[in-house]
Amino acid sequence: MANPGGGAVCNGKLHNHKKQSNGSQSRNCTKNGIVKEGQQNGKPHFYDKLIVESFEEAPLHVMVFTYMGYGIGTLFGYLRDFLRNWGIEKCNAAVERKEQKDFVPLYQDFENFYTRNLYMRIRDNWNRPICSAPGPLFDVMERVSDDYNWTFRFTGRVIKDVINMGSYNFLGLAAKYDESMRTIKDVLEAYGTGVASTRHEMGTLDKHKELEDLVAKFLNVEAAMVFGMGFATNSMNIPALVGKGCLILSDELNHASLVLGARLSGATIRIFKHNNTQSLEKLLRDAVIYGQPRTRRAWKKILILVEGVYSMEGSIVHLPQIIALKKKYKAYLYVDEAHSIGAVGPTGRGVTEFFGLDPHEVDVLMGTFTKSFGASGGYIAGRKDLVDYLRVHSHSAVYASSMSPPIAEQIIRSLKLIMGLDGTTQGLQRVQRLAKNTRYFRQRLQEMGFIIYGNENASVVPLLLYMPDLKHAWTKGIRKTKGRVMASL
């Protein structure tokens, strides 16, 4: 087990589990961050503080048991497949139509091996339906399976008031209707639900314009553009920015939407190790010095794709070092702040504020409204010429429908709340409370002995369980804690 709060000694060896990087010791500290409005009251930059990130390794016996678990699961999987093929065991999965039995099979056997045999055993932990707003407490629909997770059936009962630790509702803005959401009701009644057109045609509502101005103001940049879906924002705008002959340097653990956008663009992609500035620097040097492979022509442009907070590791990007590198090698930086906007930084402005940097130093600021703002959709913000170019050339603006009006209104309302434009300090209080809660939660979990990944300020907390069957036991156990039921992954 990991020792609380300090050096973990596993099997007599001290594993390098706590990476303490002092931001002020890096080369770029001479260019101190420009003081932004958020720090005018003299609060210290986080940038100067120690960045504490931990990626502890599990103790050896845990690793052994995990591998054993997967190994046994696989063996049993082969056994069950064999039994199913020979008809000894009934096959519960859906099958191909009789008329199409001689077609080439739609799925290769091994593709679905994992799904059929391992995932199916613990499938009931995912896709749990709820029937209330995803606030701090929510209602989960009870569902049972009579045939070992092949099919589910709802008992009709609802487990009420479950503590919610699974939704990305960082600031608690996705809640049941109350009077402050009156404006959303008005917009819904005035505009309807859909738009039925693209941005280039009849899909630009005055609400979108208002929203874009507000987003630009919130992020302190020149202009912003909003899109209907966060995933689509990445996958449709990266191809508009880079193409063949350009180089994309993407972090190892980037989100699927960034990877898809990079692949669709047709540019060459090179991966650097997660949050590792030495690896990135080496790639940049090689790219600038040696140019394109084989032809040795210079690259047209180099784009670095990183995320603000990585959702599966809970780590925060080392932005000051990356910005220093980007300036030295004249590359462009694209930061995906899906999990960090509204959740990180003294006033919730994201990773640039967290490190005390000027948002103009990042070329493309992208984010989504799903997590902290309790709505859906994405945005891209930056200089005006960038946003103008995207207005003309983005695939989303031309071919995909724009954001729905009540959703836009919800984002406007959330932004006003966070910025304090509605006259209260509720927004700021929420952001500060989130930061405090995050640190407390992480600290307590580590004291209890769990292995937590990531930065101490990231609100996404990955708690490692390792063994597959432990996930099952965990959810069963956690549900019965002290009469108050909890839901998590």
């Binding site: 996705a174 309807g192 639900t193 280039h200 509502l205 442009k301 070329d363 997590k371 703002f373 071919y399």
Partner: protein, 499 residues
């Protein structure tokens, strides 16, 4: 040398070794060592052999100048001066402050402004708030989503349906979930952009056939069959798909589904049907092109549609047999890695479905209106109508091109501007036509095939056009363009109000 008698005996070999001269042995030893060294020495990489000094590298880094992140955009580009719409995009629409009759939104059944739909959305807003704050796998599944999937499956008479939170992402995630590198996809040349992106993401072999030309498709399928016979092992694992649209966005025509189904069984390819424009439009009950032709729904492997046209919501869905659809719950990128549809939009879609089921008569009304407008617009010199007579979305194309694409686009834009000056909202797809280039995914060396013909003006029909649609128009200036416009307006006025 004699073979049977001469045998190499081990003892004799050792003896020979003792008797050999020393220099010979040493030479052989050195040669063997050299071979071993060569075998184990690292091969050099081209990069590592560079002879650049550190100083030269620093100079290269200093000198390199990348292109600007974005090239400059002309200030008067029409996309920078959007038409700002205030108010709902229903039958009448307020564009840039002027009230117009809406010919541009895809609000086919006019449900965007329906009070029942709004009431359902409001009820959902009250219960669930706005956002879902999570993907479907992590507490983002609400009971309304399950309800909507159930209702859609029942409406389309399939086993299962799956919802996506964005219409574009639906088909663009569905295709790569099934078709991977090495599989073959036969797709129509006029396929919409979302399909093209899905194909590009799938990295499969793309074979384009001429628009709605079944003979061409059959030729391609036959060629593939011949290839298969040469390499049966590979053919046994190569999946084949045919991707078509029910009602094509780019041409307004309907795909010949009965022939496609015949080809499917003959050549063993699966059909993916994209029904964004035809869902809620074609067929007696609005079930789309399968109902229009009376084809069994199980013959189509996957039907994908978006809910942004007829259902007056946002998002999309795929429906089909459980065997096919369930796979997307783990492999559909837009499903797994994206937040789920906001519940108020799902509730609006459910109510819209209710309305569609309760009044199946609106589909006949819509078709009638489409036919009327289609007839009315025939015979205008200079412009021709492209699209089926019962398609609610069709295009007005210049009969003769002026020769340059920019001029065509400008001419059409003038027509559109004149329209809006006179109270009709329309749009110029000249600019969208430019981006509509087919790409073949995968290896380099394959040319980009086909450009969708354009530019054109799309126009859409709403089921709700009522009697009070007058066509007010103000003074027109004399010019060649205006003569065309004049004729359009006169025709409409002659035709009279549409009931």
């Amino acid at each position: 040398m004699a073979t049977a008698t001469e045998q190499w005996v081990l003892v004799e070999m050792v003896q020979a070794l003792y008797e050999a001269p020393t220099y010979h042995l040493i030479l052989e030893g050195i040669l063997i060592l050299w071979i071993i060294r060569l075998l184990f020495s690292k091969t050099y990489k081209l990069q590592e052999r560079s002879d650049l000094t550190v100083k030269e590298k620093e100079e290269l880094i200093e000198e390199w100048q990348p292109e600007p992140l974005v090239p400059p955009v002309p200030k008067d580009h029409p996309a920078l001066n959007y038409n700002i719409v205030s108010g709902p995009p229903s039958h009448k629409i307020v564009v840039n402050g002027k009230e117009c009759i809406n010919f541009a939104s895809f609000n086919f059944l006019g449900l965007l402004d329906n009070p029942r739909v709004k009431a359902a959305a409001l009820a959902s807003l009250k219960k669930y708030g706005v956002g879902t704050c999570g993907p479907r796998g992590f507490y983002g599944t609400f009971d309304v989503h399950l309800d909507l999937e159930d209702r859609l499956a029942k409406f389309m008479k399939t086993e299962e349906a799956i919802i996506y939170s964005y219409g574009f992402a639906t088909i663009a995630s569905a295709i790569p979930a099934y078709s991977k590198r090495g599989d073959i996809v036969f797709v129509d040349r006029a396929a919409c952009f979302a399909i093209q992106k899905g194909l590009q993401a799938s990295r499969s072999d793309i074979k384009l056939f001429k628009h709605n030309d079944m003979a061409d498709l059959e030729r391609l399928l036959k060629e593939q069959e011949i290839e298969d016979q040469k390499n049966p092992r590979k053919a046994r694992v190569t999946r084949r798909f045919i991707v078509v649209e029910g009602l094509y966005m780019n041409t307004g025509t309907i795909c010949p589904l009965p022939e496609l189904v015949k080809l499917k069984y003959k050549y063993k390819a699966r059909i993916f049907l994209e029904e964004s424009l035809s869902f809620g439009v074609l067929g007696e009950h609005g079930r789309g092109v399968t109902e229009h032709y009376g084809i069994k729904i199980d013959d189509i492997d996957l039907i994908s549609a978006n809910m942004e046209n007829a259902l007056a919501s946002i998002g999309g869905f795929c429906c089909g047999r459980s065997f096919v659809i369930d796979h997307q719950r783990l492999s559909g990128q837009g499903y797994c890695f994206s937040a789920s549809l906001p519940p108020l939009l799902a509730a609006a879609a459910i109510e819209a479905l209710n309305i569609m089921e309760e009044n199946p008569g609106i589909f006949a009304v819509l078709k009638e209106k489409c036919r009327q407008i289609h007839k009315a617009l025939q015979g205008i010199s200079g412009l021709k109508v492209v699209g089926e007579s019962l398609s609610p979305a069709f295009h007005l194309q210049l009969e003769e091109s002026t020769g340059s694409r920019e001029q065509d686009v400008r001419l059409l834009q003038e027509i559109v501007d004149q329209h809006s000056g006179c109270g009709h909202g329309g749009t110029n797809r000249g600019r969208t036509g430019e981006s509509c280039v087919h790409h073949q995914g995968g290896s380099p060396g394959r040319p980009a095939l086909g450009r969708v013909p354009g530019p054109w003006l799309p126009a859409t029909q709403h089921a709700e056009r009522t009697q009070d649609s007058r066509w007010p128009w103000r003074g027109l200036k004399e010019s060649k363009n205006m003569c065309i416009f004049d004729r359009i307006v006169t025709k409409w006025c002659q035709y009279g109000p549409i009931v």
